[in-house]
Subunit: 143 residues, 10 copies
Amino acid sequence: MDLTDKLLAAKKAKGFSFGQLGELLGYDEVWVAALFYRQASASVEEVGKLADALDLPAAALEKLTESSLKGLGPVVPTDPLVYRFYEIMQVYGMPLKAVIHEKFGDGIMSAIDFTMSVEKEENPNGDRVNILMSGKFLPYKKW
Amino acid sequence: MDLTDKLLAAKKAKGFSFGQLGELLGYDEVWVAALFYRQASASVEEVGKLADALDLPAAALEKLTESSLKGLGPVVPTDPLVYRFYEIMQVYGMPLKAVIHEKFGDGIMSAIDFTMSVEKEENPNGDRVNILMSGKFLPYKKW
Amino acid sequence: MDLTDKLLAAKKAKGFSFGQLGELLGYDEVWVAALFYRQASASVEEVGKLADALDLPAAALEKLTESSLKGLGPVVPTDPLVYRFYEIMQVYGMPLKAVIHEKFGDGIMSAIDFTMSVEKEENPNGDRVNILMSGKFLPYKKW
Amino acid sequence: MDLTDKLLAAKKAKGFSFGQLGELLGYDEVWVAALFYRQASASVEEVGKLADALDLPAAALEKLTESSLKGLGPVVPTDPLVYRFYEIMQVYGMPLKAVIHEKFGDGIMSAIDFTMSVEKEENPNGDRVNILMSGKFLPYKKW
Amino acid sequence: MDLTDKLLAAKKAKGFSFGQLGELLGYDEVWVAALFYRQASASVEEVGKLADALDLPAAALEKLTESSLKGLGPVVPTDPLVYRFYEIMQVYGMPLKAVIHEKFGDGIMSAIDFTMSVEKEENPNGDRVNILMSGKFLPYKKW
Amino acid sequence: MDLTDKLLAAKKAKGFSFGQLGELLGYDEVWVAALFYRQASASVEEVGKLADALDLPAAALEKLTESSLKGLGPVVPTDPLVYRFYEIMQVYGMPLKAVIHEKFGDGIMSAIDFTMSVEKEENPNGDRVNILMSGKFLPYKKW
Amino acid sequence: MDLTDKLLAAKKAKGFSFGQLGELLGYDEVWVAALFYRQASASVEEVGKLADALDLPAAALEKLTESSLKGLGPVVPTDPLVYRFYEIMQVYGMPLKAVIHEKFGDGIMSAIDFTMSVEKEENPNGDRVNILMSGKFLPYKKW
Amino acid sequence: MDLTDKLLAAKKAKGFSFGQLGELLGYDEVWVAALFYRQASASVEEVGKLADALDLPAAALEKLTESSLKGLGPVVPTDPLVYRFYEIMQVYGMPLKAVIHEKFGDGIMSAIDFTMSVEKEENPNGDRVNILMSGKFLPYKKW
Amino acid sequence: MDLTDKLLAAKKAKGFSFGQLGELLGYDEVWVAALFYRQASASVEEVGKLADALDLPAAALEKLTESSLKGLGPVVPTDPLVYRFYEIMQVYGMPLKAVIHEKFGDGIMSAIDFTMSVEKEENPNGDRVNILMSGKFLPYKKW
Amino acid sequence: MDLTDKLLAAKKAKGFSFGQLGELLGYDEVWVAALFYRQASASVEEVGKLADALDLPAAALEKLTESSLKGLGPVVPTDPLVYRFYEIMQVYGMPLKAVIHEKFGDGIMSAIDFTMSVEKEENPNGDRVNILMSGKFLPYKKW
């Protein structure tokens, strides 16, 4: 049973949502989920708080303080939910590039100095998933 | 010179931003950029308005009323701006799946009943690119 | 022995067909098979009924209530039965796109709000496999 | 301008739907679309009828009597409409295999002795795309 | 030790050739080898005979009655013997297509209603491997 | 118009089958088709005979005397007829390896000192495509 | 003749080195080469200076003010000089990650706020290529 | 627990940095990290020193004296830190090739007779990662 | 511990070089290394001699008499030593083809009726690795 | 007509072999072929001599003085002659690595400080292609 499975099982047993763990740690629920999947790392104190909340020995979570190898998937994801983000990149990647360059100049949106949140918008025609990404604009340096 | 290049050249010659064309057509600038890159299609009337604005013969833009083959790129994008969206999918795809399933149940965020906008947030530490995606939640049907 | 193998073994031991399990759960046999292969998820009650029918402890089947990572195969399937569906996509994908766009406009057939069934048609020249897919049409939103 | 584009342009100019051309030739609209995309071949007489209907010289359509190299796309399609068929294969391929084997024994559904049609089902919750595939079951020969 | 290895070890221990097992089961040696590699499936009676011959408990061979996931290799095989068949497809695939279409019309050679045998032809300039493939011609259905 | 297309067009105009050209040149029809697709090379005399038969200037066919880059296709072929040969390699490659090793020892069937022919076997249950491959067995040299 | 070839030809005709052009523009020679290969973009004034130096009409170089699609190569480069950088990433990527994390914490070296220069170090045992890369450290933001 | 994990755990337990181990062994910290990841090999004496420092039995580290299979990753790395080196190769590979050829002639920078170090440059606008690579220039031999 | 590792460990423990084992068996050291990596197979007698030399039970080495699945690596090797052979094929493959065709006609160099040896040439400017490959020329058969 | 084709045509028209051109230039025939395929570069004088020999204007061959992008093929070559070199790398790459490491220590055979020649060995059992590769051994530097 790998660390992610152990964390997910403990979260389920304790009945926590990612949102509740996020409040407890002072971070967004998406970041907490990223920590569970080893895509983010936390300080020793934060890991201690998480261990307490989940009733797991802190030592078992120690790896969460390290930067593990990031990136979770096959080259093209097969899971339909994850694939839709690949599709958005395939279909809207160039239009986004054009609009960002028009508004900011030559550069990129950072995926490191970056935050992301998920909101549920209730809607009579079907609820909507609203995702807000915010990344620092990094202009290309000329040298 | 393909249709996308022709549109971009005319837009440049006329000095329009995507945002100005968006106001003219009544759509978001990202959608207009998607139309330029043949990732969206428009009605005959909309294409007519665009042709007028860009001083191009409507016939030259007729292909924009059709649904062309979507998807713009190599399997893994090499352009750094576009790649960052691939990276977000690789790194945060599973955490997003976990949070969306927790909030909505088993299903996906639609990439079809979907909108996206780009805001420039001025910030003394470096401006930020804020992207808001909104897609209808589609629950898996059991049958 | 993974969960899919355990389910298949229990089904064999009990002598159930997917169709009989489908009647028991109130769903189509294809959906039941998708549940066995972790491509669909079920409610706690449904998993309970299935556990009873297969004489397995409900706890062992608890994972079936979760949305696991979907998608089963190599990029291009090698199994001849599965490959034929890949071939249908390769050969008839563009013609289908053309016909669907002509009948519905720009959009897609949902693979989420989607059902599928398999009928055996007896035929003196060789029985036929009839597959009926039904997916909600999702028109591209303009925004 | 390749042959497919020429056929599509003539069809548009004449205002035919695939369905109308299908009635004219005595075939389903999907098969006609497959012929346009060079995924099916027709007899000299059928090509003659099509040339008449589209007001094109029969000689220009002569290639339609030959079996060209089939298969239209990239290994994993990027177009969202076409991709959904890839996704159905990825997600439901193994469940389909299990159900078909249970009902028919070891073998496959032919993609050659095969027909497919598309129906539009009007529905207050959103129209549905219904696809009926029918392929001869081919049992594995033992030898 | 997987089932294929177990079968091969028992065959070696008993000193059988595939040809001898083929006579025993009433099938060609290639088919027997395909059964060993889980690329073919057999009836309960046939598996019983094989179990007797190899002195293995029938229960251990029960999986041979099922249609397992077929296809054995990497996308491009690296084994030189297997690769040569890939090379034949790469080099002679189109010429074969041209000759088969000329002789039979538009369609394919079935790989399901299919038999194959291997003969050793003694030859002073070096023995020859003769392979006879026989597959039903399947004409493309028009619909 | 590349050389292969030119050859195929001349063959069609003259009404030759590959078999008739084969008789004329003293080779099998499959080899002639391989020559058309630039997968085999011929002597100056043979090319002269072919040019005469097809009423083409010998100079136009001069390239046929050279060994061009062989191999015609994508890594995994999408054409259904060609794919079936890929499938045979995927499904029966290892069983063939096992049988050939048992009969000949460690080595391969040459794809260079190799011949192949296609026979049409008329059959009330559907004609059969019979393919005979004959390649020299090359034992691995120990050194 | 594409823009890169045109620039390289003019540079050769004028006898400039990248270093001389760099001095002229006030940038490093590597950045100038990146501009030639459309991997960097310049201001209108800079492009004007370059056009003067190369005796090319400024209009012909206008594209250099735009951010074109970056990334030059096949997935794995085949050119030996370029490949060595791929090899360095393959062989030393994880050790670099370990050292950078140890020195800086969880984050990355930016490839956008980034400079690179090439020095020739004369050496009796063979000259050495010294490459200095300098990228801003971007710590992962927690949110 | 593989050898790399064992080494990393011992290093952590002992509180060593790569730099400290480097001083102890007389090598750069990057080389030590490469040794940990099995991308470099050491002499028996060096391994002995390392074993002493880490309080591990020398026998457990004996594999470090051998040249294991080098190369750590997927074809395109997904980890953002490692990916940036891939991006540098994609974006700046050709410009580097142009500059190196201009300065040195036709040849490459060796990745074998090669050293690399990482410096932390403190900077009020954000610390910088400085990487110095030094590889022997290898001119193409003419023969 | 797989068979290759077991053989390498015994060889190390006994202090043999591949050359010494080659003398013992009467074969070249490269062939012996190929046997260790399961890329060649040996007779029962040869395996017996090897078992004696390495002090291993003959039964443990019995698999060496069989032709295992050959080919050791990823599609593009990442190990620098192995990669250089890939590079030689990429860079010099076509020139070799041109020279071999000029000297021998249309055909190939066999990789089966093939030997290879490695010589160390001492050289004051750096020792050289000399590799001699010798393969039978196989002319393409016309049929 | 690209430069390689132009060179090959002129060589054919003049009736030169690569060996004769090699004598003329003072290089091996394989190197001359590499020059033809743009995998090597030559000095202005050498290009002048070649232009004279082939009766081509020196200006047309000027590109031969530049280091073009090297590497000629698809990732896995399909041409049988070229593929055999890929196969040798796949099958014998690891054994070669083991033997070279045993004889030279950790390092590689250079593919840059490298020569290669092809000899025809007449042999009653079939002529043999003898290839001699000689590359400088490059030991891994420790730093």
